[in-house]
Amino acid sequence: MRPTLLLFICMFSANVFGQWALTGRVTDQNEIPLIGASVQEKNNTTNGTVTDADGRFELILSESAQALVISFTGFAAKEVVISRATSDLSVSLEEDVSLLNEVLVIGYGNSSKRNLTDNVALLHSEDLSNIAVSNFQSTMSGKAAGVRINQTSGKVDAGINVTIRGTSSISAGREPLYVLDGMPLINVNESSNGAPMNPLLTLSPSEIESINILKDASSAAIYGARGANGVVLITTKKGQAGKPLVSLNMSTGISSPTNVIELLNTAEYKELFTEAAINTLGPEDGTAEIEGLFDYLANGTDWRNNEVDTDWNDIIFRDGQQSDVDLAVSGGDLKTQYYFGGAWNTTKGILVGNDLDRISARMNIKHQLSQKIAAGMNIGVSGAKIERVDNDNSFTSPVEAIAQSPLSPVYNDDGTPNANTLYPNFLLEDLYANYTTKLRRITGKVFAEYKFIENFRFNTDFGYDNSHQTEDQYRGTLTPFMSTNGYAYNSNVTSENYIWSNYFTYENELSRSAFLTVVAGQEFNNSNRVFATVTGTQFPSDDFQSISSAAEITAGTGANTTYNFLSYFARAALNLHDKYYLKASIRRDGSSRFGSNERYGFFPAFSVGWIVSEESFLKNNRTLSFLKVRGSFGQLGNSEIGDYASQTLYNGVSYNKISGIRLEQPGNNNLTWEKSKQIDLGVEFGLFNDVITGEVDFYTKNTDGLLFSVPLPGSSGQLSFNKNIGNVESKGVEVVLNSKNIRSKNLQWTTSFNIANNTNEIKSLPNGNADIITGETINRVGESVASFFLPEFAGADPATGDALYYTDGAGSATTNAYEDANRIIVGNSQPTWIGGLTNEINFKGLVLSFTFIGEWGASIFNGGGVYQSSSADYFDNQTIDQLDRWQNPGDITNVPQARLYGQNGTGPSTRYLQKGDFIRLRNVMLSYNLPKSLTEKVNVGNARIFISGVNLLTFTQYTGYDPEARADFDSYGFDHGWNFYSAPQAKTTSIGINVNF
């Protein structure tokens, strides 16, 4: 059917006379009219129309018109042969039930799921919408196999770690590449307060039409040096030809922490610390010392009679609130399609002092100028304002308030925060200081497509991404640690990224049984970041908070960094007989980030697929309706190591206001990308006429030349040296099952399940495979990346109450001398299994859907344990496990004797390590489509009301706040599996309404 070039040109020049008209009607299989369905003359894309409210259309056809193409979202497109004899055509479209016909975005092109030889997970806007979280990443949680979404903590702005198929790098970036409508997004955390922020917070989930996650090498290799961690392709909403569609969504909800940990009350605190002081200092001195402290902590209240019994959890957490409103208008005709949308989110976090306000708008427009040229523009602008709290490792972080004594009153009699607490009262910071971050973002592209001939086209896309962040901090005279009459800090950072992509696409039927698609092009990407800060002190009063009122400017910094990528890429895909598929791609990337000797890299990938069910021996098999096997091999790169990682750098410093320079980083001209070789073998199947479909994938990733910040001996004077050395191999399996359990007229029930296993093993390391130990974790050949490396805790000595450790792991001899206990490998910071289970049950318009997620195999080290569960080593309030402490000879317990300043068992050990396995009801929603009879009365197309919940249920043995909370300072949380006074996630219940006009 596909015309050759010559024929096409002949036809094209012969369309000027003999036009004729045709009317018709388009319905679904139940004869219900389809409004806004597209009706197009085949091979004449500019000639078409859309159906009206009754599903009717009228179209003037060209002389040569032989067929119409009729399409509608969610239905299989249909080609109808016509002639002048045809009158009042009646077409019924069939609902497109097969997931296999879904169109996937694969980078510089699209492909149907059926024809694809890659592993790509597709999420639709319906999967992502109406979930009461303020960032789009969290909406993906549990929905794609092998994709782990971890929001660091329950702070509204908390950083997010997205890991696709586990970690395959040790020192370099592990985040996937985010590409929005072809534009690689800036995803750099620019927070100055020590806790990472989610830079993509500005993107409203309501703008997103679909997310395609490229997981294997065959799909991601087209992104070359940036594809090793997977690629997340985000497609924003577009208009469809047809009547304007107005959609309005509103929701509001309340939230609370998923869990709080239990702490000692005043009576228990007094008993424990009196006992601990006596154990260390003797009855007389001990009692005197501790009562002196109680006097101080009680701040004039009667601690002997438990006058005050503060549970600081009550002070830290509050009822949060989240409201979302978004409004979009979309529509168009066959030539022009438009989408305008705006969204507003306001979130009052569960932590006191933590709030978010976001407003965003998007306009996507596309116009077909002529048969040959189409052009358009997408632009999204947004602004977010975040009121932030201190990082987890700060005295004035709210959650650290659980270290305060229950004896301490929270407020003075006059209502001001009590300043005489064990640690600075975070309410003083909350009340007299502020830290406001504002993010503004413009992400847009202009694009044009030129069709030389029907099957050969050229695309040029110019994209621009601008992320601008300001931080304004003011700490007033009444804040803790204030000695400079006020303190102000301002930062201003602008990151700009522009990318110009040019590529040709050629699609042609070589013969009846061979279809070829070729894409080739090049891309230039420039990224620039300008950063400046200023710090001032000595303010006239707290009424003056702007930096210009500071009498003394104490610090100023500035930076201007750049990186460039220059890339060439090509991809060819061949489809033989609609059952054999071959694909090859290659990308050549050059990056300024790498050493002058190793600047360019080639990233090839090959894949094959075979739809076995098309073969005659399976063709009419009633059980196995679809079977495809596919395999791919590819090589990817990871270039996320910072802009100047290869260079020897000397930085400017100041001593006594005189400038100096110092060696900051020793350079390595041979530094280059991490190369990751990946093999993926997959099977896709459909059973019982695709009632059950599924996918099983096995993969290995072998990452070589790991970008390694090799720790140097301190005696060298430098911390580390960037080197490509080391090798990690990851293996995994992913299973996806989708089932349409019930499909009756009144009741539909679908289930989607995914589970993924990922393990990795370090094959080689720098310095002759020497162990790399960082804090509580180790990288050792033969073991997983970032394994926990700790002495095994053996409980309390029944005779003495001393903390005991195994000298060489569980079962060996015990010792009470911490330094005599060998460290052993006792777990890993990354989970080995992750899974998700989604169900949707629709009963006459009443829809219940819910998603469970689960993680197994990760351990979490409680970095705060040494203070919280420390046998009363210091005056921090303790967790209730301390009630089971050793008190008398013969006591068998895991909690050693309480000893003030005794460091009895406080060394890092498995005592503070716990499994972080959990199953969580990530989201649940009950919605009801209001009956047409009702909506028509108020002139509304359709309307839906819903009640939804996020994180409503959690099943876990973990005793910390939340198995999904990790420390947010430095790399302790994600890299080293630390929890450190980290805020639990929010549990949210909301109600809302979706209306379409």
């Binding site: 000695s483 220059l566 100041s654 006594n656 140097l712 004077g717 130990i773």
Partner: protein, 441 residues
């Protein structure tokens, strides 16, 4: 025809873009390359300033080095009230190799040494000999100062610390290095100091001058028990430096700019430099953490005269803890060598040698006492001199070193107890296969 233009345009665009290959050469704007940094005398001199900056870091002479010594040398005299136990390990003498403070101090101190080595390895770029001599002298002073504290904290009589005297040119090479013998470390220190003393000018702004090097030499020789050399160096400073004791004891501290008594200090301003002594000794109002280290009665019991200003040089924080008055200026300099120390060294050495070079021991001791309104002593014993050091120099980083060199004890531990030697940081053990851990860790 129209098509042709578009063909041309698109192909042009493809031809144009490859010409951007040179765009992959991106130079950082914040930093300079090795070639630039080491090519001119101006930039090598800036490296030297950088070495001071590194040395002024909290983990080195910005305060922690001094704090470890005083906590190790104390028992009941001070309390550790801070919330993290790492410094407390020095006070309880239960130190661990995983203590990150010791690690950071180890690293940072070697960083000063490394940067000094870099300066000393690139002196060829100087054409002016005086300038070159000054730079060399300062770098040698800084290197000696840091090796001296490293070997005293982390070494014992026999086992010193890794000794590097040349810059590292390739950080990709094997950087394993064994511990040098303590005697070799001291030989290097004394060599650096003798050269520094001959090279440095007598006046050198806030940077190390000849008297700073002499003061360090005096301190090193005293520690080694070379009393004549220690006395002579101290004497030269007292006689020729023009320094004098400040009018009152209080005037000797919390300087924004070096005072008449300061021989050498680490410079702190509100914009640069760190003062960890403030952090740990001062109240929140004075810029500290509220009084992590407070002073107890046993320290006050060392005084023999209630008029002694030094016995009252304290204040209370909100909790009622007694805090030292030596550190109350948040952005004050960190004193490193005061003239008072030199007078005390001269007194002790004269006493031990039976000489009266410069002044008699009693006169020196009374000079110190009278400045603080303490009654003069008629006769002095060695014990009087050592006590006077504690009254005068407490909380300035002398604690454990005086105990070790006088072979006394602290908290029931003899001066040579392995518990008084800071463990080699675990990270050094983990990255340097030639390193040997200290006894008992």
């Amino acid at each position: 025809m129209k098509n042709q233009y578009i063909y041309i345009l698109t192909f042009l665009s493809l031809i144009f873009l490859p010409a951007c290959d040179d765009r992959l050469d991106v130079e950082p704007t914040l930093s300079i390359s090795e070639e630039t940094a080491l090519s001119s005398s101006a930039s090598v001199s800036k490296l030297l300033v950088g070495a001071y900056e590194i040395d002024g870091n909290a983990y080195s002479h910005g305060g922690y080095i001094q704090i470890y010594s005083d906590l190790l040398g104390a028992d009941q005299e001070v309390s550790w009230n801070g919330t993290f136990f790492e410094p407390r390990e020095a006070l309880t003498k239960e130190m661990n190799a995983i203590n990150f403070l010791f690690e950071d101090s180890w690293r940072n101190t070697y960083k000063v040494i490394s940067q000094s080595n870099l300066v000393l390895g690139n002196l060829d770029v100087y054409t002016d000999d005086a300038e070159k001599g000054r730079v060399e002298g300062e770098a040698r002073f800084l290197r000696a100062l840091n090796y001296f504290d490293l070997v005293r904290l982390f070494g014992n009589d026999v086992h010193g610390v890794p000794l590097r005297l040349d810059p590292i040119t390739d950080y990709g090479s094997d950087l394993s290095i064994a511990r040098a013998a303590t005697s070799d470390v001291y030989a290097a220190i004394l060599d650096d100091l003798s050269k520094a003393i001959s090279l440095l000018p007598e006046d050198n702004d806030v940077y190390a001058d000849r008297f700073a090097a002499l003061a360090l030499l005096s301190r090193v020789q005293l520690y080694l028990g070379h009393y004549e050399e220690a006395r002579d160096a101290a004497e030269e400073i007292i006689a020729t430096s023009g320094k004098s004791l400040s009018a009152s004891f209080a005037d000797a501290f919390n300087h924004d700019e070096d005072g008449e008594e300061d021989i050498y200090s680490m410079q702190v301003t509100s914009q640069s430099g760190e003062n960890q002594l403030i952090q740990m000794y001062a109240s929140e109002e004075n810029g500290g953490r509220g009084g992590d280290i407070s002073i107890n009665q046993p320290y006050l019991d060392l005084f023999d005269d209630s008029n002694d200003e030094r016995s009252q040089f304290f204040y209370e924080n909100a909790k009622g803890d007694r805090l030292s008055g030596k550190y109350t200026n948040q952005f004050g300099n960190v004193p490193m060598f005061r003239l008072a120390e030199m007078i005390l060294i001269r007194a002790e050495c004269n006493f031990r040698l039976g000489t009266i070079t410069g002044a008699s021991p009693a006169d020196d001791i009374n000079t110190i006492r009278q400045r603080s309104s303490a009654a003069p002593l008629v006769d002095v014993t060695l014990n009087d001199i050592l006590l006077e050091r504690q009254r005068e120099l407490a909380f300035e980083g002398f604690g454990i070193y005086d105990i070790k060199r006088t072979q006394s004890s602290v908290a029931g531990l003899p001066y040579d107890s392995p518990k008084l030697v800071v463990p080699i940081p675990q990270t050094e053990m983990d990255t340097n296969p030639l390193m040997e851990q200290n006894e008992g860790y």
